[in-house]
Amino acid sequence: MSTVAQRPPVIQALWGYAIIVLILFALLFLLRPILLPIILSLLLASLLEPQVNRLVRMGLTDSWATFALLSVTLALLVGSGFWAGPALMDQLLAMKSRFPQMLEGFNTSLTALNSWVMAHTGLEIDLVKALEGVLAEINVWLSDLVVDIASGLAQAVFGFILVPIITFFLLRDYRAARNGLLSLLPNRSFEKGCLIYFRVTRQLHKYMRGVLIQSGIIAAVASIGFGFIGLEMALLFGILSGLFNLIPYLGPLLSAIPPLLLILSSASPEPYLLLSVVSVVLIAQAVDNLLVVPSLIASTVDLHPLLVILGVIIAGSLFGFWGMLLAIPFMAVSKIILRDLYRVAEASLKGPAGVRVGA
C-alpha cells in the first residue's frame, strides 16, 4: 500500500482510469451480442425512471409502478409502430430502389459543378472521384439496413421481447444490483468508489435523457418541416435527422445530405426544394440550439467544444457511427473519473501528513 501512496497522483489516477476502461471494454465485448437491446433498455429505463418514482410517491410498490408504466409505454410504442411502421418501411424500400438513380443524378450534378468550378477558378478538383467511396459506403450501409429490417424480423421480435424484460428489471431492481456491485469494492476504496459511481451515473443519466428528448424534438420538427415543403419520404428523413442529431456538430450537416441527394437525383432538381430542405434543417438546428440545448443538454456535459469536435472525429474514424455516438458520454465520464481519482490520490498523499501536523 505504501508503494501505491508514493506514486505521483497523476500516475495513480491514470492507472485507476486504465483499469476502469479495461473493465468497461471487457464488459462491452462480453455483452456484444445483446448490446443493442441493453443500450435501448438503458435509454428507456432512464426516460421512465422519474415516472416510476412518481407512481411510487403515490403509494404503488416498485413492481406495480414499473409494470404499469412499462405496459402503457409498450402499448404506445406498438401502436405507433403499427401506425408509422408500414409507411416507414415503404419509404425505406423506396429509398433503396431509388438510390442508384440518386447516385447517378448526384454524379451528374457534381460533374456540372466540377466544370463550373474549373471554368471559373481554374482549379481541378475531381469531386466525383473524391465522394465515390463515401457514396459506395452509404449504398452498402443502406442495403444492409433494408435487409436487416426486412428479413431480420426474428431478431426484431427477439429485441422486442428482450428490451421490456431488461427494462423492467433495470427499473425495479437496479438499486439492489448496484448496491451488490458496490459491495464488491475493497473497504479502503468503498466510499471513493461509491462517490465516483454516483457522479458518473448521475451525469450519464442526465445526458441520456437529454439526448433522447433532443432527438425526438428534432425528428418531429424535421418531419413536419419536410412534410410541409412537400418532400417525399418526409417521415424517414425526419427520423434520420433526429438520429443524426445525436452526433454533435457533424450531425446536422449529415442530416441534410440524404434529402439533398434525393432532390438532386430527380431529372430536373428544383432549386426551391433544395433551399427549402436547407431551411428546414436550419430551423431544426435553431430550435435545437436556442431551445433544447440550453435547457436540456448544456448542463449535462462540461466539455470544451473543440474537445468535443476532435473527440467525435477521432472516435468516428476509429469506431464508425457508434464511435461518434458514444464519444461525448465517454469523454464526459472519463473527465469525472480522472478528476476524482486524481483528487483521491492527492488527498491520500497529503491527508495523513495533515493529520499528523494538526494533531
Partner: protein
Amino acid sequence: MSDSLWGNLFSRNKTWDKQVAALWAQTPLFNDIPYNEIARLVRDMVPRDYSEGETIFSRGEEGAGAALIVEGEVEIRAGDVTLTRLNTGDFFGEVALVLDVPRTADAVASADTRLLFFLQAGLEEWLNRRPYYAGRLSKNLANILAQRLITANAALADKAGS
C-alpha cells in the same frame, strides 16, 4: 457472509434487514418515521465488514454517507487522540448525507465490526420516491447538526470566557 455472490447481488436476508431497521428506528435520525418505511429503506443500504484495527475512513477523504454500527465498536480519532468510542446501534459520518465535504476525523474499527452505509445518493433517491418520510429524516438530521452547533458554540464561549 457465506452467501454466494449471486445471493449478495440480488437478495438479502430479510430477518437481518428487519433487525437492522429496528436498530435505525432507535436512533434520533429516524424519529417519527414508521418502522415499515425504515425496513423498506434498509434494502437500499450497503453492509460492510471491517476487521479490528482497520481504518473505515480517514480525515480529509470525501465521505459518501453515514454508517450505522450493526455489530462491533468504532473509534473516532483525531490523529492519536480518541475523540469518542461508538458501539452497536450508534451511527456516525452523517454530515456526508448532505454535504460533499472531507471527513473531519478518522474512524477506525476497534473490534471486528459490521457497518451499514446509508449513502447520500440513497437519501436523494428516497427524497424522490418517498418525500414525506425523507423530509422527516432531513428535519431530524438538521436537529442533530443544529444541536451539535449549539454545543460547539457553548464550548467556544466557555473557552473565550476562561
